[in-house]
Symmetry: C2
Subunit: 205 residues, 2 copies
């Protein structure tokens, strides 16, 4: 499922867990979170259904693992990407997340992920996983900023604080895309650039 | 339900709609979105249950009106607040939303609202209402920035773009509070201040 914009909506299934996760994605896509049953997922799973029931203790247990899987896939992708420097990496991430419009599969995925994340508001197992996902993104942004500071291309900021700002912006943008028809990505991206120019990039004083 | 921090978790019920909305809030608080039934709301409603079934076409119809009601309450509050100038108003809103910690009722309310907003990812009626809520917040921030530009205390920015940035930050912060245990509010507030100092406030060049 590679789109024109190069964004993979869902990775190729590998191994039993990968196949379960692909079945989960497809079932979520068709039924949405609220109506989803383990049977819907089993219906999309090519192997023995008992395998699925053996591994997971119900729908939410499976969906929390799905969130974990999506994070692992993201991290695998992020590690294999190569960028000339910290600024190019930051800009590439922002280009992707603040793209003026998303492809249909990315729209769908953004909405599904928002629905799953929201379960964390009332369910501790989701909350732990979403907190973990948030931490990993925070670490990635912190690492990017710290590298730019170390090589002198970024100002001497606290990488942790700038990472927290970028992550909050990214989460806000994803949430607004998932739950509203507002068109804001271009405007916000320009303001994010203004923030980074004033705060982070050394050659734009 | 006024807290130490002066934040009202839920307004005093006025009139039949107000009482229905108070019953909805209480039922949501007790049961969460997924398990909630119209009967749960009826159980919290002091008047005739038939009134409730007469006015609303099921749980989601009622909850979409609940979102609309929360917006009206917010707007009524915002209109009655008085600030010396645009900057004081912007800072007051940010102080409230980026407070290092929320009172228990505000934590609860933030989580409930996040769960309801997330329904907009898959339901058109929620999506229309959440989009409307988003627009009103956007208008309020645009109005604040435009006043500051007009009286010369803010730089000559596009109020619409700065409002979009602030709203995305606010939504990201509320979403992260609702779905994670991350502690980021203080850090992000400091970065928001750095953004506003560089981009908006004229006396901080």
């Amino acid at each position: 499922m590679v789109e024109d914009d190069g964004v993979v909506a869902f990775p190729e299934a590998e191994g039993t867990r990968g196949e379960i996760m692909a079945a989960t994605y497809e079932a979520l896509r068709q039924h949405g979170y609220a109506a989803l049953t383990v049977q819907d997922i089993a219906d999309e799973f090519p192997k023995s259904k008992s395998l699925l029931y053996h591994h997971y203790d119900g729908k939410d247990d499976l969906l929390v693992d799905f969130l974990s899987y999506m994070l692992e896939q993201y991290e695998g992708q992020a590690e294999s990407d190569r960028y000339p420097d910290a600024r190019a990496e930051l800009e590439a991430v922002l280009d992707r997340l603040f793209a003026p419009s998303f492809s249909e599969p990315m729209v769908e995925r953004t909405r599904l992920m928002a629905e799953l994340r929201a379960q964390a508001a009332s369910d501790e197992a989701y909350r732990e996983q979403v907190t973990r996902t948030d931490e990993r993104f925070h670490e990635r942004f912190t690492d990017i900023v710290a590298r730019g500071v170390a090589d002198g291309s970024f100002r001497d900021v606290d990488p942790d604080a700038v990472a927290a700002m970028v992550l909050t912006l990214v989460n806000g943008a994803m949430e607004r895309r998932a739950t509203t028809d507002a068109e804001f990505a271009g405007q916000v991206r320009a303001e994010v650039d203004a923030y980074l120019a004033a705060r982070l990039y050394r050659d734009e004083v």
